[in-house]
Assembly symmetry: C2
Homo-oligomer: 356 residues x 2
């Protein structure tokens, strides 16, 4: 068993959004302090952190000071510039490690990694120009979807191709960025597994949740998900396989399509995941504490589910419902303290709990 | 219904210990920021607060700056100097109000207040000197206990008088402070009720917990407490009576002795209370969120108990057990991030959960 970080140690978190905020709160329950590194002013995580550095990801001096002030580094998002990681890696351990970031930062690398593990993915092809897109459309067919290889989230950097004549417009949408064409998958529903791996290689998974998206943004996650016992077991095994292949330390989210041909991996996220927020009111140890335990070398905690939960994201004007939600029984509010409500912006979430 | 504080408002918390820390975390879930005022350096609450002021309670300038920066003021301990409150009360609303502080800061005032409400207390007498102590011992008898009227907690400022000849030593222990003699109460066990009252006068109580103390410090609180249905109802009614009499806003703790003659009020605490920590893992809305809801003018939340819980304080060397506790199922750790472990110091607590 590795030596766990002593209580009172400082966890550096790259990114100051709601995931960093909830990680910081979970860290406090275990007696750790958090130091947030975030380019944007007044980050939500800064409201509940011991220390905040406001600096750009190419500010070498700020990165060095941050790295020297912390005992371990983790992150709330995967698109951290490689140059920043090059500086930080000599100053403190980074968990999850760089291999997980390398794989998940690039859709093409990620799909190839998954395929090499023997896991099913949507058909895909590397797109560099109009010719490669034409060839890929010939193989993969339509409808299909063109995505930038890097920096996409919540439906951004994506264009649907319903018929071959949409190809030029879709390619233009990519603005010259390296891209990947993905075939459409016929699926009945999407589920995700939130799983964790500790520093000594132990793996634990939360019960899979069933996700509903709209306009590219997650709306609800429901546990239990509609899965047969063997699908549930497959889902957890896929997550464990990914964790082990990456020699991963921390919490990982795996999105899966449920199809007649089995489970198809949509994508992996090397961090706590929106579809795992239900664990805050359904498990003794939630995904945020589980992640903190893993990256600090603690043993993984008890993630057994004790309630049925529907997690509902509060997006934009959903915030108008907060005062009504505040009086609902068996309903837990989790707001992010963001200064401004904008359409499409995740402002909070609510867990509707049904004790079982 | 009063207008609730808007999301993003700042709650000023006087005192930066573990109660302030857990209040700050609860406030973050509702989208509020906290500003901690605490004389001691590196307060536990500061690790999860938006802002910390480190200044003495007689620092007028610091108090003014603090009061002007917050939208409402609350506190984690009752012994706030009156002079500080005089300055703050003109700058932001203080909840719970000054009457609750006035009553609970002085054991004699508190006992008199409770008696005037028709509630049962231990027999008591005002002690100013050796003569008044001799007269009181004649009335109340021995064993009895001499306590300073103000500033006692966790067994400090108390001396037992087992026989009249102990009187002089006990009085010397008070070091000239105004004191109160309390008769011993024959009780089978102690329970406490954590109850809340909102700005519009609604009252909600958590299920009473049963407390075990040792060396003057709370060791465990167990829910459910051993109470008959009518005792449970009496306990909650007593708390409601106190809340209403004080026109109280926030969470209050009431300690009660269970005796053959009914429930006897031991003391009241105008704040979240150690014996309410079980609510973090037994209720959808815990005592900390309930307090934040009350002082911000929000509706009270759903405090129904969904699990049996034994809350155990981690005191001093109990911290050696943390790594073992971390692997126990149905066990939730809550550590306070205190720099130094000392004998008798509350370092954290753990909730042992049994789903019902």
């Amino acid at each position: 068993m590795p030596t766990p970080l002593p209580l009172g140690s400082t966890i550096g978190i790259i990114g100051g959004g709601q995931l960093g905020r909830m990680l910081s709160v979970a860290a406090s329950r275990l007696g750790f302090r958090c130091h947030i590194y975030e380019p944007g002013a007044e980050p939500p995580a800064g409201q509940v952190a011991h220390r905040v550095t406001t600096a750009a990801y190419d500010d070498e001096a700020a990165l060095r000071t941050f790295g020297q002030s912390v005992d371990v580094i983790t992150y709330e998002f995967e698109n951290i510039p490689t140059t920043a990681l090059d500086i930080l890696q000599d100053l403190a351990p980074i968990h999850p490690g760089r291999e997980a970031l390398r794989v998940s930062q690039d859709r093409l690398t990620e799909k190839t990694f998954l395929q090499n593990l023997g896991l099913k993915t949507a058909p895909f092809a590397d797109i560099t120009d109009a010719e490669s897109l034409e060839a890929a459309l010939h193989d993969i067919g339509t409808p299909s979807i063109l995505k930038t290889r890097r920096f996409g989230y919540d439906g951004k950097g994506q264009a649907r191709i319903m018929a071959p004549e949409d190809a030029a417009a879709a390619l233009a949408d990519m603005q010259g960025a390296p891209s990947i064409l993905e075939g459409f998958v016929e699926f009945s529903h999407e589920v995700s597994v939130i799983a964790a791996r500790s520093l000594d290689g132990a793996v634990a998974a939360f019960d899979p949740g069933e996700n509903v998206h709209s306009e590219g943004i997650l709306r609800t996650t429901t546990v239990p998900a509609r899965l047969t016992a063997s699908q549930r077991s497959d889902a957890v095994l896929i997550a464990a396989q990914v964790l082990n292949a990456l020699n991963y330390v921390g919490v990982l989210g795996v999105e899966l399509f449920v199809t007649a041909q089995g489970l198809i991996v949509n994508e992996i996220a090397p961090r706590v995941h929106n579809s795992g927020h239900w664990t805050q009111n359904g498990c003794t140890v939630d995904q945020f504490e589980q992640h903190i335990r893993a990256v600090t070398g603690w043993p993984l905690g008890d993630g057994q589910r004790y309630a049925d939960v529907v997690m509902e994201n509060l997006i934009g004007s959903d915030m108008d419902r907060v005062s009504a939600l505040a009086t609902d029984a068996d309903t837990a509010l989790h707001l992010y303290g963001k200064a401004e409500t904008k359409p499409g912006r995740k402002m909070g979430h609510v867990n509707h709990i049904k004790r079982v």
